[in-house]
Amino acid sequence: MEKLTNPSLIQKLTARFADQISVPAEPYGLLTFETGKDTITEVLKFLKEDKDLQFNYLTDITGIHYPEKELAIGVIYHLHSLRHNIRVRIKVFLPADKPVIPTASNLWKGANWMERETYDFFGIQFEGHPDLRRILNVDEMTVFPMRREYPLEDPNRVDKKDYFFGR
C-alpha cells in the first residue's frame, strides 16, 4: 500500500467531499480542515473506514470558544491513522445559542467520555450520545466554565480580599 501523505490525503478528501470541506491548512505538518455539522459524521466515517486512509484511532475531541465570531463554539477532532502514521485535525464551528452536533461515539466508543468532557466545559450537545452528563464538574453546575465569558475565579468570593494579604 502506498504511504499516505498530506497532498494525497487532500486529494482524496476533495474528491469525496468537494466543497463541503474548507481549504486545508497544515500548521506544523498536521493537516487541518473545517467542515459543517451536517457532514462531520460522514467525514469521520469516511476517514475511519476508507481502505486507503484507515484513520482508525481517535486521539482526541475537544472544544474551543471564540466569543467574537458568529459561529462561536468549535469542536476539534484529532484523528490518527496508525496504518500510515499520519494525523489529521478536523474542526466544526457551531452557533453559541444552539451548539448541536452529531455524536462520534457510534464510530469510536472512546468518544463517549471525550464528548462528555466537551459538553461539560463548553455545553456542546452531542446528538445521539448514549449518556451525555457532566463528567468532571459537579452535576449541579449551571454554566459551562470553559466558555470565555466565565472568569477564572468567582468575582464574588470573599475569602481572597486584598486586605487579608496586607495589600
Binding site: 487541518t32 486521539t59 470558544h65 484529532h78 466508543k109 472512546g110 467520555w113 463528567i135 468532571l136
Partner: protein, 403 residues
C-alpha cells in the same frame, strides 16, 4: 456482557446489591468512585464517577504565561512528572520553532526514561500488593527513592519536579547527578531481576492475573487506549517511535508488546519497558560524552528564561527576563499538537495560540482519562477482586484523570 435482570431498589425480586467502591478506598490508590451492582462477588454493572480532584488546569492555563504552565503539568501524572514537563516544553518549542541542541535532547531522554521507570515501578509494585505480594513493592520503593534523589540533584524537587525551561534546562546536570545516574544503572538491574524472579514465573501470580481483564486490540483501539496497556494487547503504537521527539530516533530500543492484553501481559510489558528504558539511558549517557560540554539550553534568549544572576548583572538578560515574565514575547498565532509517550500512554498537548501572554486554549490529551473510560464496561461480569487488580494494572493516576 451478562444479561442480568435489573430491578428497582424496592422490588422484592431484587437479588443484587449496590456496592460503593470508592471514592477513598484503600484498594483503589486514588480518588476513584465506582458504583457497582453486585451479584454476590460478581459485578453485574458499574458506573464510574470521576472529577473528585478536578482543578480546572485548562482554565488556569488560559491565564498563565507559558513558563508558568509547567507546574500545572507536574500535577497531571505525578508519578512521572518530568515527562509531562518535557512534553509541555517541547510543545512550546514546536510552536516557537526552537531547535534544541542534541545534548539537551539526550538530557531530556535520560530524565524522561528515569520517570518512565519510576512510573512503571510503582504500577507493578502496587499490582503485586493488590495480588497479595508485598515484598516486591518494598524492593522497588527503594529504587524509586534513588530515582527521586536524581531528580533532587537535577532540580531540587522530588515529586512535582518542574524540571527544565522552554528551550532546555535551568542548569546543567552536575557531576553528582551523573554519578547518581550511573550508580542507579549499576545497582538497579540486579534488584529488578530479583523482582522479576519473584513474579514473572510465580504460579500464584500467574494464576491470579493471567486471563483477567483480557482485551483484544480492536476494542482497545476503539476505546482509544494508548501506552503499555494498548501494547499489551499487541498493538505496537508508541509515540517515541511513531513520531520521535527529543531525538528518540537516535536510540536503539525495542517496543515490547503482549498478546492477550490481560493483567499479566500488562505487567510483563511494563517490566520489559523498564529494561528498554535502562538501555536508552545507557546509550544517552554514552552520547552525551560526545557532545560539547556545558550546553544545557538552546541559544534563544528571547524565549529562554535567563539565570537570575544574569538578570541582575546583564542588560540583555534583564530585558528578556522582563519580556518573558510580563508575556511580551512574540509568538506565532497558530495551533500545535504535540504528543509524548507518557507513563500511561499518549500525553498530548493541544495549544491554540493567539499571540497573547498566555495560551488562548490549552487542552491536555490525558491518557489516564481516556484509558479509564473502559473500566466500568469491562468490569461487568468480573469478580470484584479481579476488578481491583484490573484497576491497578490500568495505572490510572487520579491527577491525570481529572486534570
Amino acid at each position: 456482557m451478562m444479561n442480568h435482570p435489573v430491578f428497582t431498589d424496592n422490588d422484592p425480586q431484587k437479588e443484587t446489591h449496590t456496592l460503593n467502591l470508592g471514592p477513598t478506598h484503600p484498594a483503589t490508590h486514588g480518588v476513584f468512585q465506582n458504583v457497582l451492582e453486585m451479584d454476590g462477588e460478581r459485578i453485574v454493572s458499574g458506573v464510574s464517577t470521576i472529577g473528585y480532584i478536578h482543578r480546572a488546569f485548562e482554565k488556569i492555563a488560559e491565564h498563565r504565561p507559558f513558563y508558568q504552565i509547567t507546574p500545572l503539568t507536574d500535577r497531571l501524572n505525578y508519578c512521572s512528572s518530568p515527562i509531562n514537563n518535557m512534553g509541555w516544553h517541547m510543545t512550546v518549542e514546536k510552536l516557537l520553532d526552537i531547535q534544541t541542541p542534541k545534548r539537551v535532547d539526550y538530557m531530556r531522554v535520560i530524565i524522561m526514561e528515569l520517570a518512565r521507570i519510576s512510573d512503571h515501578l510503582i504500577c507493578n509494585g502496587i499490582l503485586g500488593v493488590d495480588t497479595g505480594a508485598f515484598t516486591g513493592f518494598l524492593y522497588l520503593m527503594e529504587e524509586r527513592e534513588h530515582i527521586y534523589e536524581i531528580y533532587e540533584e537535577i532540580c531540587g524537587a522530588r515529586l512535582t519536579t518542574n524540571i527544565g525551561r522552554i528551550g532546555g534546562f535551568e542548569r546543567d546536570f552536575n557531576d553528582i547527578a551523573f554519578a547518581k545516574i550511573r550508580k542507579f544503572l549499576k545497582n538497579f538491574p540486579p534488584i529488578m531481576k530479583e523482582f522479576e524472579a519473584l513474579f514473572n514465573r510465580n504460579r500464584i501470580f500467574i494464576e491470579r492475573t493471567s486471563g483477567v481483564a483480557a482485551v483484544d486490540p480492536e476494542t482497545a483501539l476503539n476505546y482509544s487506549w494508548s501506552g503499555p496497556i494498548l501494547r499489551a494487547t499487541g498493538v505496537d503504537y508508541d509515540v517515541r517511535v511513531n513520531e520521535p521527539y527529543a531525538s528518540y530516533q537516535d536510540f536503539d530500543f525495542e517496543i515490547p508488546v503482549g498478546t492477550t492484553g490481560d493483567v499479566y501481559d500488562r505487567f510483563i510489558v511494563r517490566n520489559e519497558e523498564i529494561w528498554q528504558s535502562l538501555r536508552i539511558i545507557e546509550q544517552a549517557l554514552e552520547k552525551i560524552e560526545k557532545e560539547p560540554k556545558g550546553v544545557f539550553h538552546a541559544e534563544v534568549p528571547e524565549f529562554y528564561l535567563p539565570a537570575k544572576e544574569d538578570v541582575y548583572n546583564n542588560m540583555e538578560a534583564l530585558i528578556y527576563h522582563f519580556k518573558i515574565v510580563m508575556g511580551e514575547i512574540e509568538t506565532p498565532k497558530t495551533e500545535v499538537y504535540h504528543a509524548v509517550e507518557g507513563g500511561n500512554g499518549e500525553l498530548g498537548f493541544y495549544l491554540v495560540n493567539d499571540g497573547g501572554r498566555s495560551p488562548y486554549r490549552l487542552h491536555f490529551r490525558r491518557p489516564s482519562f481516556i484509558n479509564y473510560q473502559m473500566y466500568a464496561p469491562m468490569s461487568s461480569g468480573m469478580l470484584l477482586s479481579d476488578a481491583i487488580i484490573n484497576m491497578s494494572s490500568l495505572n490510572v493516576i487520579a491527577g491525570e484523570l481529572d486534570a
